[in-house]
């Protein structure tokens, strides 16, 4: 044994023990893992949050010294970016200028022309200021930040922004700092506006840059009520010289003293800017993330055979993500601060760590034998994969180690993170994911157990396994078969997966809640860290709005404070109506309220008002009101980036300038006076200030509309058949329902044993039923009639030479002799049956005259027929219960027959008779076949005579085969390949009439209301009328006496002379052979190979509609009493039609290949196709509810037993499905061997029995009618 194998064994054993441990104590281990994840992630709290807002740090001015590069020990609360000199020092000179006293002779332009003009002299003063002391002479030129060219692409700003010199910006830059240009400028505002960008702008504009205060605070407009102009002269210094700045400050203060200024000047603020991410860098980042998500998607998609795929996928992702977080946290804990951009390397880390191990683990555990205990399964699965996991991990570690020795710092750091991440990922896989997997497997087994428990309580313990019963059919079990309905909790609604996701999202409102929580957290973080000065702004707003802080505005209506943002355009009309009571100067230490009072002062109505220049706390750090992109954009014009660097903003120097009206007038431009006075100040002012608001609102509206349109398009693209609305409602509505009837009962645990009807010698090819009788025809041409309730073979319509045992009917002969005595009561019983039927089911549309005693609205079609109702004997009391004493009655006592059917191997012999020709030669035989229902022997004899006469008239055709069979009442209609139509008496087995008008083979038949419709091979359609000529006697055959719930059948007594006449023949109904023929509700519908469906009226055989829409031959049609027409074709399409209008209601594609069968319930359409798929569609909307994939080669036959019970034929079995949920309820095997022939035809009888063909046998399966209360 090599070392390698030893190692391998040891690893395997260790993993095995570990798996046992994990599966044994899942909860403590998960708790432990969560705790360790949280512990390892704790250091992450100290990392800066991602965001681009600037960060501030305030220091005192007096003891300021440029911070050193090296981090010092006693950093205190110093941020780590506060190292080294700043990019620049910003010194702002804040100028407030006003013309005072205001004169009525002044024009609005005077408000700002002369104050702005003062900027030039101030600039001169600043530029020329020289400070000289012992250390030398310093001027601004030596200290300021020298800039070179503007950024290429900003040529249009060349005239405005300084180049090749000091970075000194002021409003004077608009006029190249030349007083002459300013003086000769006829329209100052136009010059200022000229440089504004068009449209909306969010970042710093040129106006903000030059004025140094936000545009609305400058007061440079015609509508300046305050008449105070504010601007700054911004000096950008590259080095800090306290003495020079001090002297400059002193000089300016001395020149322009600010009387009431109490600005603090002892703090300088350092502002650190984060890196801004541009689109160009975002695209690769987004690409890597898209690739990452695709990788995660394709990986987690492979998780299969578990209880909750989503849960495990989530666990896998959580494993990887938290291992990454752990690695970062651990590295931070040990002092390794990440310098790489976390967002950029993150996808690569995930890819390196990978989800493979998780998937391998899952696959390995799932593939362990399912009958093991969960613990053992986990342990075995782990140990199976232990070697490969360890090998992979060692390889990856080696690769990473190699990467570590590249000695490139970035790669080294990446490798470090990757190593720690790998190790922590391994830890999490072993502890977290394995435990989650064990929980999942246990849940699945529990679910399996629960699913099977109610059904198999009495059976041997179920074999737990991941195989779902739907996917793998249960092995053929011997009887008794049971139908199992699970309790609702264990049933899973059969809906498409995406719908399930939608349901889940809708039910839990997950997305909404996550977004809400995320937003709240984000806002909280933002407020907490306060990157953009939100808190100060909010505080300022609050203090501004509070009445205490606004004594000067006491006269203002309170609602004025509502929109403080647009202070410049405050509704002055209100002010003019209510002049403030106290316009006198206010105490100095007031903050925001001064604006209101200052504005209120110079009212137009109070001419000699003095513009009041006040200084408040907001002026102290006026730059805060600027956009936080203000400084980065200013520097970026000169190609200087502030990303990851900081600037220091020095305290402002306040300058107050008072100008006399005389000066203002002198400074005027000649055109100024020609400027029209402000038209209607209020409206225009409002208009101007609100313009931004309108723009924003319009943009928001447009964006909203666009978003809605986009979502709509997406919705249309993704859900072309408006899935959401109807599908969800449908599913919701049906969720609570169970496949049960109105009383809350459902077909439950009971036995289903198929009743095999043997007799045919060859495969059965035609099957027809009218609810009580069942007619079948085999390939040999033999037609047999069975009782649908008991399964007795009642009649055999023999083939020539087939009958072998004549002894049998000899025996029958004897019976008949006995039975002759009971003929009279037979009549009575039949009369009773029919009368009950007529009473109970008078709503039945059939219009069978024999059965209606009091039917006034008899269809006119049948008026020519005699009213036979008086002949029915209603005297029930008179009938003696004599049939009890006459056991061998074929009509009533089926016990013997059933026994015989099972005892004798060849039941046909018991009831097989010679051909009618031989029957006619021996009259008694015909009479013995059935009860001879007559008044007496004479009548019976007469009857025989008639029958035999009919038989001789119409010689049956034994050469051709039967292609179509239909049964109604006791008449069997058979269509033969020779084109001959034959009517047989189902009970007597005699040929009643035949019609040989057509020569082409009859492919399909419909028999409804005395009409027979025959579709022929050449595409023609023949309508026959069956006429009954006067019976002497009303006897009819009834299956089991006393069953009132049976549907009425037209019964023709054997005495009737039945004739069948061709009333109309539609020669070219279709161009190609007619494949389907259905009749219901007075309509005949034909489908043909020529892709069309035609609707005929039954009464006058007139073609109503030709329905086109299929692109293949019609293969199946469904029509019922409610005039619902569905058709399926070879193109796999299913069309729903409106029979009344002939319009197509819906058109869906559901199958690859032919649609082989179609059934409708009141709510849905069920189709099966050649692709072995059963699709269930919503009938009203045409939405596919779900589909069931059947095994290959299953039959195509479908039947609906009740609204919620579907039956399908399969290979030697029939399956019952729950329609609401798509669950397989039960599979009933028809024979002992499961590989029997497929069930090709399936008929659902009215008493919830189904009949299907099974090779040469018929199988009668009773759906259990025993009801079980559900809860």
């Amino acid at each position: 044994m090599t070392l390698r194998e030893q190692l391998r064994e040891k690893i395997s054993a260790a993993f095995y023990r570990h798996g046992l441990l994990c599966a044994s104590y899942p909860v403590p281990i998960i708790l432990f893992t969560s705790a360790s994840i949280l512990t390892c992630c704790y250091p992450l709290l100290r990392l800066p949050l991602p965001g681009t807002g600037p960060v501030e740090f305030t220091t005192g001015v007096r003891d300021y010294s440029v911070p050193s590069h090296e981090p010092q020990g006693d950093l205190g609360e110093r941020p780590d970016w506060y190292r080294g000199p700043p990019v620049a020092y910003i010194q702002q000179v804040l100028v407030k200028a006003a013309v005072s006293p205001w004169d009525s002779s002044l024009v609005p332009v005077d408000v700002f022309r002369s104050p702005l003009g003062r900027a030039f002299s101030l600039l001169e003063e600043i530029r020329n200021h020289v400070h000289s002391d012992s250390s030398g002479i310093r001027s601004l030129e030596t200290l300021c930040l020298q800039v070179t060219d503007l950024f290429p692409g900003l040529r249009r700003m060349q005239s405005v922004l300084p180049e090749h010199g000091c970075l000194l910006v002021s409003p004077g830059n608009y006029w190249q700092n030349q007083r002459e240009l300013f003086d000769s400028d006829p329209d100052l505002l136009k010059t200022i506006q000229k440089h504004e960008p068009k449209g909306l702008h969010t970042s710093a504009t040129l106006r903000d840059l030059l004025f140094g205060v936000p545009g609305k605070y400058t007061g440079v407009s015609h509508y300046n009520r305050k008449r105070v102009v504010t601007y700054t002269i911004t000096v950008v210094l590259s080095s800090y010289d306290a003495r020079f700045l001090g002297s400059l400050r002193a000089r300016l203060k001395q020149l322009h003293p600010s009387a009431n200024c109490s600005l603090r000047d002892d703090h300088m603020v350092h502002v650190h800017f984060k890196e801004e991410i541009g689109i160009a860098e975002l695209i690769p980042l987004v690409t890597t993330y898209i690739i990452l998500f695709a990788y995660i998607y394709f990986s987690t998609r492979k998780i299969d055979m578990v209880k909750s795929k989503w849960g495990l996928a989530l666990a896998a992702v959580v494993t990887v993500l938290s291992s990454l977080l752990m690695s970062v946290g651990l590295c931070t804990l040990f002092g390794l601060t990440p310098t790489l951009n976390g967002g950029e390397i993150f996808p690569y880390l995930v890819v390196v760590i990978g989800l493979e191990n998780v998937l391998v683990l899952t696959k390995s555990v799932v593939s362990t034998p399912v009958d093991l205990e969960v613990k053992l399964r986990i342990a075995q699965g782990l140990s199976n994969e232990s070697w490969s996991i360890m090998k992979n991990m060692a390889t990856e570690l080696c690769i990473i180690l190699i990467g570590y020795f590249t000695l490139v710092p970035a790669i080294q750091e990446f490798c470090l993170f990757a190593v720690v991440g790998l190790v922590s990922d391994f830890f999490l896989q072993m502890f977290f994911f394995t435990t989650v997997l064990s929980i999942d497997i246990r849940r699945m087994e529990l679910a399996d157990l629960n699913r099977r428990l109610p059904a198999e309580a009495g059976l041997p313990p179920p074999k737990p396994g991941p195989l779902r019963p739907r996917e793998v059919p249960p092995p053929p079990r011997p009887s008794p078969h049971t139908i199992t309905l699970q309790t609702p909790a264990f049933r899973n609604l059969r809906v498409p997966k995406r719908l399930r996701v939608v349901y889940f999202l809708a039910r839990t409102r997950l997305a909404q809640r996550i977004i809400m929580v995320g937003t709240v957290i984000w806002i909280g973080i933002l407020v907490y860290t306060d990157p953009a000065g939100i808190r100060t702004y909010l505080a300022a707003q609050v203090s501004e709005q509070s009445p205490l802080g606004d004594p000067g505005g006491g006269g203002l209506p309170p609602h004025l404070g509502v929109a403080p943002v647009f202070r410049g355009g405050d509704p002055t009309s209100t002010l003019s109506i209510h002049p403030p009571p106290d316009p006198t100067p206010l105490p100095e230490n007031q903050s925001q309220g001064h604006h209101g009072s200052a504005r209120a002062g110079p009212l137009p109505q109070a001419p000699p008002a003095v513009p009041q220049i006040t200084w408040g706390a907001e002026d102290e750090e006026g730059w805060r009101r600027l956009s936080f992109r203000h400084w980065p954009s200013l520097f970026s014009y000169y190609n200087i980036t502030l990303a990851k660097r900081y600037i220091s903003i020095l305290p402002v120097i306040p300058v107050t300038v008072h100008l006399s009206p005389q000066e203002a007038i002198e400074a005027r431009h000649p055109q100024d006076t020609r400027y029209p006075p402000p038209p209607i100040p209020k409206v225009t002012a409002d208009l101007q200030t609100d313009l931004t608001l309108y723009k924003v609102a319009a943009l928001g509206l447009a964006a909203g509309v666009l978003l809605v349109l986009l979502l709509f398009c997406l919705y249309r693209v993704l859900c072309p058949r408006n899935y959401g609305q109807n599908g969800v409602a449908h599913g919701r509505r049906r969720r609570g329902d169970l496949p049960c009837d109105d009383y809350g009962y459902s077909p439950p645990v009971s036995e289903i044993s198929p009743l095999l009807l043997r007799g045919h010698s060859m495969d059965i090819e035609c099957l027809a039923s009218d609810g009580m009788l069942l007619a079948s025809c085999c390939l040999a041409g033999q037609i047999r009639v069975w009782d649908a309730q008991t399964g007795d073979c009642l009649t055999v319509i023999p083939n020539h030479g087939r009958c072998s045992s004549g002894g049998c009917w000899e025996q029958r002969d004897g019976w008949d002799g006995v039975g002759g005595a009971a003929d009279s009561d037979c009549l009575g019983s039949e009369g009773r049956g029919s009368s009950v039927g007529a009473d109970g089911l008078s709503e039945e549309e059939g219009g069978y005259p024999l059965r209606r005693r009091s039917a006034p609205a008899r269809p006119t079609l049948f008026t020519d027929q005699p009213d036979l109702t008086p002949l029915i004997d209603t005297n029930f009391t008179s009938q003696p219960p004599s049939h009890l004493s006459t056991p061998p009655r074929t009509g009533f006592d089926f016990g013997g027959l059933v026994e015989r059917a099972y005892m004798e191997h060849e039941p046909p012999s018991t009831s097989t008779y010679p051909s009618p020709s031989s029957a006619s030669s021996s009259p008694p035989s015909g009479a013995q076949l059935q009860r001879t229902p007559s008044m007496g022997d004479a009548a019976a004899y007469l009857n025989q005579e008639r029958a035999s006469a009919a038989g001789t008239q119409a010689t049956p055709d034994w050469e051709s085969s039967v292609w179509a069979l239909e049964l109604r009442g006791n008449l069997i209609v058979a269509g033969r390949s020779s084109g001959k139509l034959e009517l047989w008496d189902a009970v007597e087995g005699s040929l009643r009439c035949s019609n040989e008008d057509g020569l082409s083979g009859i492919t399909a038949l419909a028999f409804l209301n005395n009409r027979i419709v025959a579709a022929r091979l050449n595409g023609s359609l023949d309508f026959f009328t069956v006429e009954i000529n006067k019976p002497l006697c009303l006897l009819q055959y009834r299956g089991a006496p006393g069953r009132g719930s049976m549907p009425p059948s037209p019964c023709y007594s054997s005495e009737d002379v039945i004739s069948c006449q061709l009333t109309r023949s539609v020669q070219c109904a279709h161009q190609k052979p007619i494949t389907v023929l259905r009749a219901a509700a007075g309509r005949v519908v034909t489908g043909s190979q020529d892709h069309t469906v035609r609707i005929y009226r039954l009464e006058d055989s007139c073609c109503l509609f030709t329905l086109q829409g299929h692109s293949g031959g019609i293969t199946s049609i469904y029509i019922d009493q409610t005039m619902v027409l569905a058709s399926g074709g070879q193109d796999g399409a299913i069309c729903l039609w409106d029979v009344l209008t002939g319009s197509r209601v819906s058109h869906v594609y559901g199958h690859r290949g032919d649609v082989t069968s179609l059934v409708c319930t009141t709510t849905c359409v069920i189709s099966s196709g050649l692709d072995d798929l059963i699709c269930v569609w919503d009938r009203s909307t045409g939405i596919k509810l779900y589909s069931i994939q059947q095994e290959v080669g299953c039959g195509a036959s479908l039947g609906v037993i009740s609204e919620s019970l579907l039956v399908t034929g399969g290979q030697g079995c029939v399956s019952f499905w729950d329609l609401n949920y798509g669950d397989l309820l039960q599979t009933v095997y028809l024979g002992q061997s499961s590989d029997g022939q497929g069930v090709r035809q399936l008929l659902v009888l009215d008493n919830a029995a189904i009949v299907c063909d099974f090779g040469s046998e018929l199988s009668l399966v009773y759906v259990p009618s025993v009801l079980e209360k559900l809860d």
């Binding site: 690739i291 950029e344 490139v408 090819e765 020779s978 091979l1017 494949t1075 199946s1116 290949g1153």
Partner: protein, 243 residues
């Protein structure tokens, strides 16, 4: 119903009846849906694959070129859109065409050699491969190496690692190396003729890491191409099963 018809026609022959209807009853198997037929059709399939590979190549070329672009943008310059298409117009189409060729060549060679590629044939692995490829580009663009030799060696090791992790076929390696050499030669010629140039060439006229990038790209595109070809292969298999 069609089955019934079949049964009927069967029965007619069995009963020795007339055969008049035997042929007309059933058409042969109906044609498949448009999607499947398009997939199974060889030329269409080839075209679809080529188009997909071409678009992938163009996309990667754009994105990776953007990575190489100097990144000192702190403000949105007025012409930000043009920076996305900062390279010459002919670069993305060239890359797209090359990737389409490579992606089609790989499965073709696999089938010629008769050894279908079976190693890690799943989309998640392909995605991982693409991510690693982008990572290699990322590293070449953004990581500051001490010298060019170190950079080239690292990238070469990474490329070989990529091949070992996701391909491991000799044909893949050979094709990758030869195409990488060809592409390097072509680039040399292009630069020599002055079509474009590198800022700091260290290997004749180009950067020395270029062959490594080419190699990794060839491996990646081959991986994608093989995965795409899997679909055709699968469908053909299913078809033969059904037939």
């Amino acid at each position: 119903m069609s089955l019934t018809l079949t049964a009927m026609s069967d029965s007619s022959t069995a009963a020795g009846g007339q055969q008049q209807w035997a042929g007309s009853g059933q058409t042969p198997r109906p044609p498949r849906g448009p999607y499947i037929s398009a997939i199974t059709n060889r030329t269409t399939n080839l075209l679809i694959r080529g188009a997909m590979l071409f678009s992938v190549g163009v996309f990667l070329a754009l994105v990776l070129n953007l990575l190489q672009v100097q990144r000192n943008v702190t403000l949105f310059p007025p012409d930000v859109i043009s920076s996305i298409f900062s390279s010459a117009w002919w670069v993305p189409p060239c890359c797209g065409t090359a990737s389409a060729l490579i992606g089609l060549l790989y499965p073709c060679i696999d089938s010629r050699l008769g050894e279908p590629h079976k190693f890690k044939r799943e989309w998640s692995s392909v995605m991982r491969c693409v991510a690693v490829f982008v990572g290699i580009n990322h590293a070449s663009a953004k990581v500051d190496f001490a010298n060019n030799v170190q950079l080239s060696l690292t990238l070469a090791a990474l490329s070989i690692g990529l091949w070992w992790t996701f391909d491991r076929s000799r044909s893949g390696f050979g094709l990758g190396v030869s195409i990488a050499l060809l592409a390097t030669l072509a680039t040399q010629l292009l630069v020599y003729n002055g079509v474009f140039q590198y800022t700091s060439p260290d290997f004749l006229y180009i950067r020395s890491w270029l062959p490594c990038i080419f190699f990794a790209g060839v491996i990646t595109m081959g991986n994608i191409g093989r995965q795409l070809a899997m679909y055709e292969y699968k469908f053909l298999q299913e078809k033969t099963h059904q037939d």
